[in-house]
Symmetry: C2
DNA sequence: GCACATTTACTCGGATACTATATGTCCGAGTTCAAACGG
DNA sequence: CCGTTTGAACTCGGACATATAGTATCCGAGTAAATGTGC
C-alpha cells in the first residue's frame, strides 16, 4: 500500500484538529512532519478530487476540510489515495485455456473471487466505521497538549 | 495486489481436486489456464518455501500439497505470495519534524495505525476462515463436471 | 535372463532482463493582497 | 483623502524525471527412469 495513505490520514486529522481556522498551505502541513512538500501536495490534490478537502488559491490560500470530519471516514481517505478499485481483481483466468469452464452464460461465480471480495468488504467496513472526527476526538482526549501545539505551529508566521 | 495471488489460489484448489494422484509439473498446471509457465513456477517456489506445497524433482516429479487441504487457509496462500508483512505499515511520521510527539517512551499508540491494523485483522480473519478444502468442496458440489475434466486433462500424456 | 553401469530426458531452482507503478521534482496559471499613483 | 491601477508575492495545478517492485524469461543443478551392455 502506498506511503501517501499514512500522510493523508494524519493530514486530515490535523486539519480536523485545526478547525475552526484559516486554510492551511500544503507546505505548512508537510513541514509539520518533515514530508516532501511538493509530493505531499500531489496527495492533497487527490483528496481534493475526491471532495474530501477543498483548495483555495492565492495568498491566504491553502486547504480546508470540505465536509465536517464526522462525515469523513478512513475508508474515504484510503479510497481517495489508493483508488476505488479493489486490491484483488479477479482476472477470470478459469475462463482461459483448456480448463475453461462454460464460456459465456456461466452462472457459477468464481468462488475465489467471492471469498476475496467478502474479505475486502470486511476490511472496508472496518475502515468505514471510523471517522476522522473519532480519531481527532481521541487525540484531544488522550493527549490534550498535541492539538494546542499544532494550532500554535500552524499559526506561526514562519518556520 | 499481485496477479500471482489469483494463480496460486486456483492452483491450490486444483491440486486439492486432483488428489489423490501423482505430482503435477508446474508447466502442466500453468497450461490448464494458459499462464506463463516459467513465471508461474516462481510462484510455486514461493508456496514451497511457505510449506504449502512440496516439490519433487526429476521425471515423474512436480508439485503436491504438503498438507491436507483442510489445513490450508486462503490467508496462508496470500501470505506466501504477497509476503507476511501487513499492507499498511505505519512509518511513525508523527515522530518526525516539528510536530514530533514525546520522543522515546511515548506510551500513546498511533491511533491511525491502530485503526488500520484492526481493519487488516478483519481482512485476515475472513481469509483465514476459508480453507482450500472448502472451495474445492463447493466446486465439487456445484459443478461436478469440472473436477473430472481437470483430472482427465492432468492425466493426458501430452497436450 | 539378470544385474549393473550409462545415458537420456525431464524436473525444479536460482540468477538475469524488462515493464508498470509509485515516488519525487520542476515550472506555469491563477488569485489575492499590498502598495503606488492619480484625481 | 479616496478610488483606481499596477505590481508582486504566494498559492495550487498539472506536466516531467527517477526509483522501486512486480512481471517475464533464460540457463544450469539434480534426480529418476529408461536403455544398452556384459556376464
Amino acid at each position: 500500500m502506498g506511503e501517501g495513505v499514512e500522510w493523508a490520514l494524519h493530514c486530515c486529522v490535523n486539519l480536523a484538529l485545526a478547525e475552526p481556522g484559516p486554510a492551511v498551505p500544503a507546505a505548512r502541513l508537510a513541514g509539520y512532519y518533515d514530508l516532501p512538500p511538493v509530493y505531499f501536495n500531489k496527495q492533497l490534490q487527490a483528496l481534493a478530487r475526491a471532495g474530501i478537502v477543498e483548495s483555495l488559491p492565492g495568498p491566504r490560500g491553502g486547504f480546508r476540510l470540505a465536509r465536517p470530519p464526522e462525515r469523513i471516514t478512513l475508508m474515504d481517505v484510503v479510497a481517495a489515495i489508493e483508488g476505488p478499485e479493489p486490491a484483488f481483481r479477479c482476472a477470470e483466468i478459469r475462463r482461459r485455456g483448456p480448463g475453461a469452464t462454460a464460456p459465456a452464460g456461466d452462472p457459477a461465480p468464481c468462488l475465489i473471487d467471492e471469498a476475496m471480495r467478502s474479505a475486502e468488504v470486511a476490511w472496508r467496513s472496518a475502515l468505514a466505521a471510523r471517522t476522522v472526527a473519532d480519531i481527532a476526538g481521541s487525540v484531544r482526549d488522550r493527549t490534550p497538549g498535541v492539538p494546542d501545539r499544532l494550532r500554535r505551529w500552524l499559526a506561526a508566521p514562519r518556520a
